[in-house]
Amino acid sequence: MTHDPITLEIIQNSLSAAADEMFAAMGKTAMSSIIYEVLDMGSGITDADGRIASSGAGIPAFIGVLDKSVQFILQKHDDIRPGDVFITNDPWHGGVTHLNDIVLAMPVFSDGTLIAWTAIIAHNSDIGGMAPGSLSGDATEIFQEGLRLPAVKIINQGVTDDAVMDVISCNSRMPDFLYGDIWAAIAGVRVGARRLEGIAEKYGTETFQEAMSRFMEFGEKSACAELAKLPKGTFELDEEQDDGQIFNVKVTISENEFIVDFRDNPDQTAGPGNATRDGTVICAQMLFKALTGPDTPANDGSFRPLKVLTREGSIFHAKEPAAVGFYYETEIRSNDLIWRCLAPHIPELLPAGHFSSICGTFIGGIHPDTGRQYTIIEPQIGGWGAGHNHDGVSCNFCNFHGETYNTPAEISEARNGLYVDKMALNDAPGGEGEFTGGRGLILEYRIRAEQGFLTMGYTRFKEKPWALHGGVEGSGNYVEVIKPEGTTKYSFVSGLDVTTDDVIRVVSSCGAGFGDPKKRDKAAVAADIKAELITPERAAEIYD
């Protein structure tokens, strides 16, 4: 049977529209601010075999997760029926990231045939474990990081399994939030499933499936066309980390393959900074996509030329039951490693290093006005590196995040019962060049109640964002806690006590510079001085 290309195109457009609708439905109904305000979530549609066909807005680091979840569910279950919804969060059971990130997936049927899946992943505020917010720098096993949901059915042919719901709620310090957020995700996957059923009914199951498959072929073709333009050869980089470890990557680009080799890396650690193989693959996918067509849709086909090699038991391919709570700081290092390895060879495609940390910040305690528990879980914004012909942008989310929003001070003060004393551009020296890096953030929280806590873990504290072609490196990410007895600087801290009038000062890095600062346009230097982004003294020292 031949298929009319316009019909296929219309179905493909509908897949994108459905993924966007799912994202919107979840975002509007979620209870955790990390979901509804920060939009730390992703939505996607896979084909019947769990290959990603379309993804909604959201964060790029979540796009490659959902296919892996669905593939695991398919492997584990042989009783998949209309109306079912599955739940997973465990990286060794299709969950990929860490236990806070819960995936809900729903099979879509047409004429009794499984034709697709809709799936949503989102960061939940607390899933149990040894520390509030479930993330602890002290965890050594995944069992300490919360309840593991090993890809089980939560809704059976439309009937909610209250037993599973009860177990989940009972294991959370914030059961109402968790319950509300899971329902928001269910609403999202249902909206998507309903839309896909309508499309399949209208155009026929076979045409629907053909459209999905052609969409992926299109993804592959467009990736290959861009791959052909990249320089060929093998590129290698060793990079020292804040903790002294050396990470390594080898990238081999050929006519039809892009091979990322992470095998020569340290063993997995006893702490929570391990990444899983699936997670490492996603990091490579994100950079590969940035190089091979950020404008074209991302689907299974887009990633077919990519091969990722890892060594089981290494920090980028941890074995069960490693702790993985802070996986993201290790993952973003692997992503940045590929970026830094290739940037000197293709500077028109890759800018200099950005603040390159999730800067995950967790602050909790009792709201002094309502008496209710509050938990801030937020990534931070920071400075981006300069490109070969432009300055970097200031205060945007890192490349793991996308359609992600910071929390307004007015909302934070009302919801969390603390004060935001300052939210400003970081004017620390660093990032100068012919083109300058963007500015990081200074964000000051003043605590209003006793018995609060701070947990955070940032990388790029000592080893700063890397410059290109003679630019100056960035300034570094950290937190300062200002107490009456003194000020302490942290890059990792777990469960630190904070109390009334303590100030938590979040500082994110400026992006790195590109090119020799002496070549910077004098008018641009004058504008930087006028904007008070650099002192006249520092400007004279760097630029003259």
Binding site: I6, I10, Y36, F218, P294, V393, S394, F397, A424
Partner: protein
């Protein structure tokens, strides 16, 4: 009524300034006059005076005048506002530049953030803090203001925006800064955020105040000259100005806070759709306005348009855009209109829009050098638009250019020219269907309960195909669809939408507290109206509460009836649960909290009333012009009867396949459709018998 009442709407567009005059005679009969003249930048008021003259309207006889203008949106998108200085709370001068940190184009490592409208050296801070509950935490220290203002003067600042933290909860500090600025620099244009919005989120509020300041001198100059020009010709009363919330507002209020005009163009059409729906007993309307470069749609339920305050300009998948927190009719706009260009990408996929051929070169068929096929070219090729009566006969269709453009496209797609043209129409329709779904299905509305009302130059050409896809029961094309927006303006009330953030649990005593917020806001609205000379008995209010489950962020708006007391709180909560479930498929057994109010204050200012005509016989054969082959894409090629739209009279009825043509629009009636003309000359198309 003893004398003829004359109501006039003028609308300044990019190319033309339009006039519609409605004269209602003492016996209730209505005479409609339309006229068009060139828009005359930068002295737009001349175009308005010209068009009045051309239409034979003597300003001294005009009882009510409404005026729509794109001056605000143009000043914003063309960056033709003034230099603005921003005064904000200590520690927050970078809010405007930090924005929200989002990167919608997320795989792009070279993403460029939208530039703030105020550079860093013109953003100044003052100490002093309010809490979210509206209490003063630290007193305002305005002692640095003289120095700040000196600096602004030196830098050529012409307008100042003030936005202080929690100014929505307690504007006392903003008011003090405002008063001080007015004292120190009386001639400068200045606006504080609380004058525009009382909702939280400091970046959005700051940006709103800044953009309002940015356009204020431009808009005030424009409106001032317009008013003076009209008054000098004898206009007895200042014109009312069309707003984005579907109402009109006084010229004076609009001059002070012009940003509320930002989306006034589409608003008048959607308001017209709501009013027409009431008139013909179709309270549930999907309204679609297809122009040259974009299509806009909005949903009207129970005769009410939906007004929201989350509006952005220049926002797309490629850019975060700029938020403007003012009441704007809830609409979705996509880059698909008659001039949208069809192209085939490197991978053989066909796209239509968002690039547009514009007025120049325009579609290939204009014969002005356009080489790319547009939606209009496809419609011509398929016989849907009459190639011998193109643009009402004003332009001779250059069909050889259309053929060349389509052939070029067809060869890239490896299909026939006919199939390429059908493909363009189908893709364009699909884009519009997805936009219509966003405002309907996506928000829990069943499209089968709605009537599709299509207007604008291209609305009626695509309406039936879209209606079939969405399974709506009926399509209505209004009489004189080309002046529909002006008609909408004539139907508008003086309308102001007040939004205020006020976080509250629904516990004992909440009823009285909520009532107090409404009462206070109503008193403010009433005082403003009365100060403008609006009689008290003409003022009416609509109340809405914004509710959510505790811990959620986004709210659902619930209509509230009468005085709020504790007794009705259970019913209010139940209404919320029901509306929530409708939109999101589930409800929770969780506490409900109120986040704020939305108050609509309206005053009638003498809007038009319509009288039905006598309906005549059903026989429409007298309006038949000809027959021709029309390609209905998926429904095949049919011999369609062509009707002269101007000759159709109330009561006439006929069946598809047919085309209705008049000088301004083309209605494509598909096979099996039944058409009837109502007593107001609107065209009703029943999809199936």
């Amino acid at each position: 009524m003893t004398k003829t009442t004359c109501r006039v709407a003028t609308d300044v567009g990019g190319t033309f300034t339009d006039l519609v005059a409605f004269e209602t005679a003492p016996d209730g009969s209505l005479k409609v006059t339309t006229a068009k003249s060139d828009t005359t930048p930068p002295n737009f008021e001349n175009g308005v005076l010209n068009v009045l003259h051309k239409g034979g309207v003597d300003p001294s006889t005009v009882d009510f005048m409404a005026h729509g203008t794109t001056v605000v949106i143009n000043a914003l998108t063309e960056r033709k506002g003034v230099s603005v200085g921003l005064i904000t709370t200590e520690g927050f001068r970078d809010t405007l530049e930090i924005a929200r940190g989002n990167r919608p184009d997320f795989f792009n490592l070279h993403y460029e953030k939208p530039e703030p409208f105020v550079p860093r050296h013109l953003r100044a801070e003052v100490p002093g803090r309010m809490t979210y509950q509206g209490d003063e935490r630290a007193p305002l220290d305005a002692s640095a203001l003289p120095e700040i203002l000196d600096d602004f003067r030196k830098e050529g600042v012409e307008a100042i925006a003030v936005c202080l933290l929690h100014g929505y909860a307690n504007p006392a500090h903003e008011k003090a800064v405002l008063a001080e600025i007015q004292k120190l620099w009386p001639e400068v244009s200045v606006v504080a955020s609380h004058q525009i919005t009382r909702e939280w989120r400091e970046y959005e509020r700051s940006n709103t105040a800044v953009l309002s300041a940015y356009v204020q001198p431009v808009a005030a100059r424009y409106l001032g000259r317009l008013d003076a020009g009209l008054k000098s010709r004898g206009l007895p009363k200042s014109p009312y100005i069309m707003q984005s919330n579907c109402g009109v507002d006084s010229l004076q209020a609009t001059s002070a806070i012009p940003i509320t005009m930002v989306e006034s163009g589409p608003a008048s059409g959607f308001w017209g759709a709501a009013e027409l729906g009431k008139l013909i007993d179709e309270p549930n309307i999907l309204a679609l306005d297809i122009g040259g470069t974009t299509a806009k749609c909005s949903l009207i339920e129970g005769g009410e348009v939906k007004i929201m305050t989350d509006y952005w300009i220049e926002r797309s998948r490629k850019s975060a855009g700029y938020p403007i927190m003012v009441p704007v009719v809830d609409l979705v706009e996509i880059g698909n209109g008659g001039g949208s260009i069809a192209r085939v990408d490197d991978f053989g996929k066909l796209h239509v829009g968002p690039q547009s051929a514009g007025a120049l070169p325009g579609p290939a068929a204009y014969g002005k050098g356009g080489t790319e096929a547009t939606t209009t070219d496809a419609n011509l090729w398929l016989g849907r638009i009459n190639r011998d009566y193109f643009c009402g006969g004003a332009i001779e269709a250059d069909m050889s250019s259309t053929e060349t453009a389509l052939t070029n496209l067809a060869s890239k797609l490896n299909v026939t020219v006919d199939d390429a043209a059908r493909g363009i129409v189908r893709i364009a329709n699909d884009n519009m269907v997805n936009a219509l779904k966003l405002v309907s299905l996506n928000r829990g509305h069943d499209t089968r309960d709605f009537t599709l009302l299509a207007f604008g130059g291209g609305g009626s050409m695509h309406a039936v195909a879209l209606a079939q896809e969405l399974q709506v029961k009926k399509v209505v094309v209004p009489a004189a669809a080309s002046v529909f927006s002006a008609w909408g303006m004539m139907m508008s009330d003086l309308r102001r939408d007040y939004f205020a953030t006020q976080l509250m649990d629904l516990d004992a005593g909440a009823g009285a507290r909520i009532e107090a917020v409404f009462a206070e806001t109503e008193a403010e609205a009433r005082a403003t109206f009365e100060a403008e000379g609006v009689p008290s008995d003409k003022i009416s209010f609509l109340r809405y509460g914004k509710f959510r489950y505790q811990n959620q962020e986004h709210t659902t708006e619930v209509p509230l009836d009468g005085t709020i007391t504790d007794v009705i709180l259970d019913k209010v909560a139940e209404d919320f649960h029901a509306l929530y479930e409708k939109e999101y498929t589930y409800r929770l057994n969780a506490p409900v909290e109120m986040v704020g109010i939305h108050l609509v204050a309206r005053a009638e200012v003498g809007k038009l009333t319509m009288a039905p005509a006598e309906t005549g016989p059903a026989d429409a054969s007298g309006a038949i012009k000809a027959t021709r082959q029309v390609d209905y894409a998926l429904e095949g090629i049919h011999e369609a009867t062509i009707y002269d739209g101007d000759a159709l009279k109330p009561g006439m009825a006929f069946k598809g396949p047919a085309i209705i043509e008049d000088s301004g629009s083309t209605v494509v009636v598909h096979p099996k459709n039944h058409v009837s003309i109502d007593a107001y000359s609107n065209i009703h198309i029943m999809l199936k018998g």
